[in-house]
Symmetry: D2
Subunit: 231 residues, 4 copies
């Protein structure tokens, strides 16, 4: 199950363990009983979730492989506990020449939204909005920087500059790849922060992909999370 | 897969995820390659382990159900990260009347070992050794305390004392049940501490049961751990 | 600063680090500014708290020494991240002969509350209430078990039974001592769960003592927590 | 206490809590005793360290402010437990125009070392070495990329491209600032990995600065760490 994200990225399920039933079984440890069927136990699952009894949701999880730009990984890696990561390393191989380039429609649209939001709060001069033509032109400049940065990267490698130094010009838009693993409690906390409208649009696309995978593997739990995060 | 431990306890596999191959794949993220077959990759696994590159071993794990005396759980629960626990609660149900009773041979034997060890270090009077007859007699006293404690427990419950208070007389030998989950890095750290001869004999039996389960599900990783911990 | 808790217990401040100002400074890292004075920054602190931006509250913490019954420590130790613990060990010294004994008024009162609550939910026979006389009598039985358990404990030690086994009869009411350390984010989560009315009354007394220490050392943060947890 | 690192970076102590004595006190919890003076207790501290009884070293810690290039922060943030971080965010302010530029002597020297090491292992063509002149020339190219990337960054901001997108061209050499906090067990693990010769030279300079601060505040513990990590 691989979900394409942004221009070159993806999220792919590697492993899934546990299940909605396992969360019920874990919660029922306290009274020595097991899973009783969803007729009764959907209410228990809801009770656990709404009363923030979150430890049973640690009894399942997923591991994914993710390809994303560095600035997305920088935000992702702030999720410390209970996450595990293994990532491609520019110390050991030259990072492949793929960089994130937004669409000009997207850049312009988000500029307008940001300006609206800023103007609503501001007391001074109105925030500037970027037209589609300006966005288009700026993205051409951006592509040009990517090329120049890559040329210097490759030139360094040819000259014998160690990989770990040659990479200094690599932009934060550069794609990398990692495996990430966590229990479901951790993934739901990730989704709560990163599917939210305040999250940067790019990491939101990744969080939405994670949400789809959770939905397939832990449907009852996913529904509870969605109810809370839709309103 | 249920392994009997002590007089009333057990360890039972609930879920296992990931594999030795997954650890290799995670480690290979750094260079963008995958699993190459054990001919080559056994060397890589050994390298990871001996050079303490432990994060790839977080890409797999097991969940178990455990029945053990409270004093064993007290030691177990000191393992905080990356462990998850859900346990039976004496606030919600009366703990079943099962208590750990060692064998008289075991008590006497361990008394002799402890005395040897103490006498080797001591400067004063020799440490006392407990004979098998004395051990037998003391265990009868112990069983008697268990009975009296249980009678007071049950009497309290009958009188209407809340469960959470009625339990005050319950001895640390009382059995309880939990689910415990962790990644393999966590379980190996648990085994390193709790399979060791310095660990209390009782928790060592549980750690050995965990080791058997790890051996079945992560055989190559287990072998590396055993080489290091046998010497 | 030592606060007495229950019949033999206490909570005592060992170390405190960071401050409300440090939380502001940490949050201001994102925009490269520092602390601006409480006139402005009280609003920022409130924003952080109410929008669940909890990481700045990791930039301070306290270490305490705690004497409490084992059943309280069992609940306490479920707080795993970011807590650190070092506790007295019955493997190395005989646990001092101090056991928690509730008051007969307390036992009777809590029996009545529990019965009310159960009867409100129940469909069957009414839950029993424990009178003060019954509570008094039961506590005498409890004290008697404590004595017998202690006699068997001491007898085992005299015979040469190793400490780690001799303790088997020790009741969960037995007092032990530990140091516990965490950042403030962790302590506030502890307080949210353990100062709540659903928490067992005994651990609530300890959580309230922790709350007093937090109030003295992090007054602005404490006020925000109290506003949220009073309603 | 601020220690300059690289061309624009630093490590500065913000808070320190606990002490070598506190580690002894925490370890002595197990037997109910306290600190006895360094005449006796240096041996205990060594015992704890060499036998990997690491939890007492969680009873103290430091918080630092760090200015470092993004590629250094990327490695730093892999230290998850028990670390806390708050960093400057390019979503909220434009990152100041400061980028790490190595010295040409350094680049050439490390190229030679890397080539030696590669040639010792290789079967194919010899790895190339970068002369000082080549290094000098390549660094000029690098500075030029930094300028172009910055121009595009600023141009985007002027046009009204949101900060979070305008930053896409920012190189991983760009400096950022953060607060980082951990207990001493965590910092020692950080130092063990990041002061080692296998660590990238740049993060090693930061780890050495941390080591100096630990040495001043926890001198006995630091000495034990150094003995182990010098050989």
């Amino acid at each position: 199950m691989r979900i394409e994200v942004l221009d070159h990225g993806y999220v792919e399920l590697v492993d899934s363990w546990g299940s909605d039933e396992r969360f019920i079984e874990a919660a029922r440890m306290s009274t020595g009983k097991g899973f009783q069927g969803w007729d009764t136990d959907l209410r228990l699952l809801r009770y656990l979730w709404t009363h923030k009894h979150h430890t049973p949701f640690e009894m399942g999880g997923i591991t994914v492989q993710v390809k994303a730009p560095l600035f997305v990984f920088r935000e992702w890696h702030r999720h410390r506990v209970p996450f595990s990561y293994n990532e491609m390393s520019a110390r050991y191989i030259p990072l492949p020449n793929e960089n994130y380039l937004p669409t000009f429609v997207g850049v312009s649209l988000r500029s307008h939204e940001a300006a609206e939001s800023a103007n609503n709060q501001a007391r001074g001069a109105a925030a500037r909005k970027c037209s589609q033509e300006e966005a288009q032109k700026w993205l051409e400049e951006l592509e040009e920087v990517y090329k120049i940065a890559q040329a210097v990267y490759e030139h360094g490698l040819e000259l014998g500059v160690p990989k770990e130094l040659a990479r200094l010009s690599v932009p934060v838009a550069r794609y990398s790849v990692m495996r990430a693993s966590s229990n479901i409690r951790g993934w739901l906390a990730f989704m709560t922060l990163r599917c939210a409208t305040q999250a940067q649009w790019e990491i939101r696309q990744y969080a939405n992909a994670i949400a789809k995978i959770i939905q397939q593997n832990f449907p009852h739990t996913f529904n509870l999370w969605r109810e809370e995060n839709d309103s």
